[in-house]
């Protein structure tokens, strides 16, 4: 009986969440939907990173670089090969996933900190690499969609028509990003709940124990990396589609740091708080500059906010919510 109640509550919460997502654009300005779409980009990257770091215990400081790969794949396909922007999303995801897979291979020999350093190196090196292959990437100027392939931009005329339903480009971007985001979240949830998720967590909690239980460490680590890479690639692709440009300056080490901050603030090892993590990373810089434009103050406020949030919520928002909900879940799931 209590179990059924628990499931019912859960379904209700999910339904409420979906309803909220569908209806939100009506309550905010048209342009603000675009900002929400950008938060969605962070959300997708954060979910991917969480699968890798929160559930498999592997650290990556290079998710910004994987986003760059996704973003540039989209940009190159659109501007050089004249693909429609939205159709490039799966390709971008797979390309980044492939790179994630390759990065995951040395992870067998390296672990913990050293993996962090490898991904760190990738993130630091990415802008230089992007600039070097300027024939393909546009070098330090990057690629501007409106200039090179305007017909491939969905919604260039300001409105988009899907299945007979017409909406503004900003709304389209919002729905596109968050629909993909929620699908990605669902897939992550299914993975986490399933057998693979258990194996991930086994690897996180004790590699040696996992190996002695017959887990193929190399396979799992590379799988985890590849999977999170796909998410990052899709996030990067959506970012390129939203801003309609790519540039090495948009994919510096700072981006990788921001995704990590978002994941930890959202709560590693849990999928619930990640939306909050994404919003935190999206809106905090704006709030900081609103408080003061005076040089130094926005950065100061930004840093202080991160520190205070981490001190107050060391397990992130997700951890905090789980602790809050513990009396309820305990009540629901223990026999009377």
């Amino acid at each position: 009986m209590r179990r059924a109640l628990g499931i019912a509550l859960w379904v209700l919460a999910v339904a409420a969440g979906i309803a909220f997502f569908l209806v939100l654009p009506r309550f905010v300005s048209d342009f603000h939907s675009r900002e929400l779409a950008q938060a969605g980009v962070f959300f997708i990257a954060i979910v991917g990173l969480n699968l890798l770091t929160g559930y498999t215990g592997q650290i990556s400081l290079g998710h910004g670089a994987l986003m760059a790969i996704g973003g540039y794949t989209t940009a190159i396909l659109v501007t050089h090969e004249h693909w429609r922007d939205v159709w490039t999303i799966p390709v971008a995801g797979l390309t980044a996933g492939a790179v994630g897979f390759l990065v995951g291979i040395p992870a067998l020999r390296l672990s913990g900190l050293y993996l962090a350093v490898a991904t760190f190196g990738l993130a630091v090196a990415m802008p230089s690499i992007l600039k070097k292959f300027s024939g393909l990437t546009g070098g330090s100027e990057g690629l501007v969609f409106v200039e090179k392939a305007p017909k491939q931009i969905t919604g260039l005329g300001g409105s988009v028509t899907i299945f007979g339903h017409s909406m503004t480009q900003n709304h389209f971007l919002y729905y596109l990003t968050w629909t993909i985001g929620l699908i990605g979240l669902t897939i992550a949830w299914l993975i986490v709940r399933g057998r693979i998720g258990r194996v991930f967590r086994a690897v996180r909690d004790s590699e040696i124990a996992a190996v002695s239980s017959g887990v193929n460490l190399a396979k799992i680590k590379t799988l985890s990396f590849a999977l999170s890479g796909v998410y990052a690639g899709i996030a990067g692709s959506l970012l390129a589609i939203q801003t309609q440009i790519v540039n090495p300056l948009s994919f510096t080490f700072l981006l990788s740091i921001l995704i990590l901050v978002g994941a930890v603030v959202g709560g590693l090892g849990s999928l619930v708080g990640l939306v909050v993590g994404a919003f935190f990373v999206q809106y905090l810089p704006d709030v900081s500059t609103h408080i003061s434009e005076r040089p130094g103050v926005p950065d100061f406020v930004y840093g202080a906010a991160i520190i205070i949030v981490m001190i107050l919520l060391p397990s992130g928002v997700g951890g905090f919510l789980r602790r809050l909900a513990r009396p309820l879940t305990t009540w629901l799931y223990t026999r009377p």
């Binding site: 770091t53 650290i59 040395p106 020999r109 390296l110 672990s111 900190l113 050293y114 962090a116 350093v117 490898a118 760190f120 190196g121 990738l122 630091v124 090196a125 230089s128 690499i129 600039k131 070097k132 004790s206 040696i208 124990a209 080490f253 740091i257 990590l260 901050v261 930890v264 603030v265 590693l268 005076r294 040089p295 130094g296 103050v297 926005p298 950065d299 100061f300 406020v301 930004y302 840093g303 202080a304 906010a305 991160i306 520190i307 981490m310 001190i311 060391p314 397990s315 992130g316």
Partner: protein, 300 residues
Amino acid sequence: MLLAFDWTQLAQQTVIGLSVGGTWALLALALVLIYRSTGVINFAQGEMAMFSTFIAWSLVNHGLSFWEAFFLTIAISFVGGIAVERVVIRPVERAPELTVAIVTIGLFFLVDGAAKWIWSSETRTLPNAFSTRPIDVAGVAFSIEDLGNIAVSVGVVVLLWLLFRFTKVGLALRASAVNPDESRLLGIRVSWMLALGWGLAAAMGAVSGMLTAPALGSFDQNLMQVVLLYAIAGAVLGGLGSPIGAVVGSLLLGVFITLVGTYVDWIGTDLRTPFALAVILAVLLVRPAGLFGRTAVRRV
């Protein structure tokens, strides 16, 4: 063929590489110290060093000589490092390591912002610690400053070694880092040992900044941002738990990057940093604990 090769150029670039690596070595040392005690890379180490450099500048601006400002800043930074640990790190001492890492990221922005808020973004300068008069040996030029910077790094390593090896405090520091729980049982105030570690690291960072700024000729709030990345790379190459490794790793990295940039045209100066990072990765594949690191024995 051997005679046609420009040996002078090779020697000169090697000397430059050592000088460049030397500026990273002290910051790498600070990183290693914090890593050993707190278990994370302090992403704010560079900004803290930069902040100390600005303090030194203010002191010099108020009339102190370089060396007076130098030692006073070290003392101030030492206290500052302890204060940072007590206020910002202590609340998350028991939290997962990633949380602590994120706190250091927040600290990065906070200290950077504070430095921009208090002092404007103009380019400034610090007097040179050592003479920059060029000395020419067989066509290779360098200055006392280059030697001085390396000497200071080596000196700090020696001091640290003496501290760890021969003093009670040093023993307590090492014990707290290796096994905090048992150390507590022995009566060591582990929490304060952490703070002490941060104070020492901040002091070393201050030295790093105060020597790097004059070596580069000028500084502003961005002084240590690039240095931090190379210091991390150098420390990892040397083995993140090893002070000697931090210095040697940084010097090697400096020489390697400089020579690759000079002689491999395709890589040139554009790609030498990515290339160097790839090589570090390759080294780690062969020696996962870095050149001087000790492979951790994992308890099942």
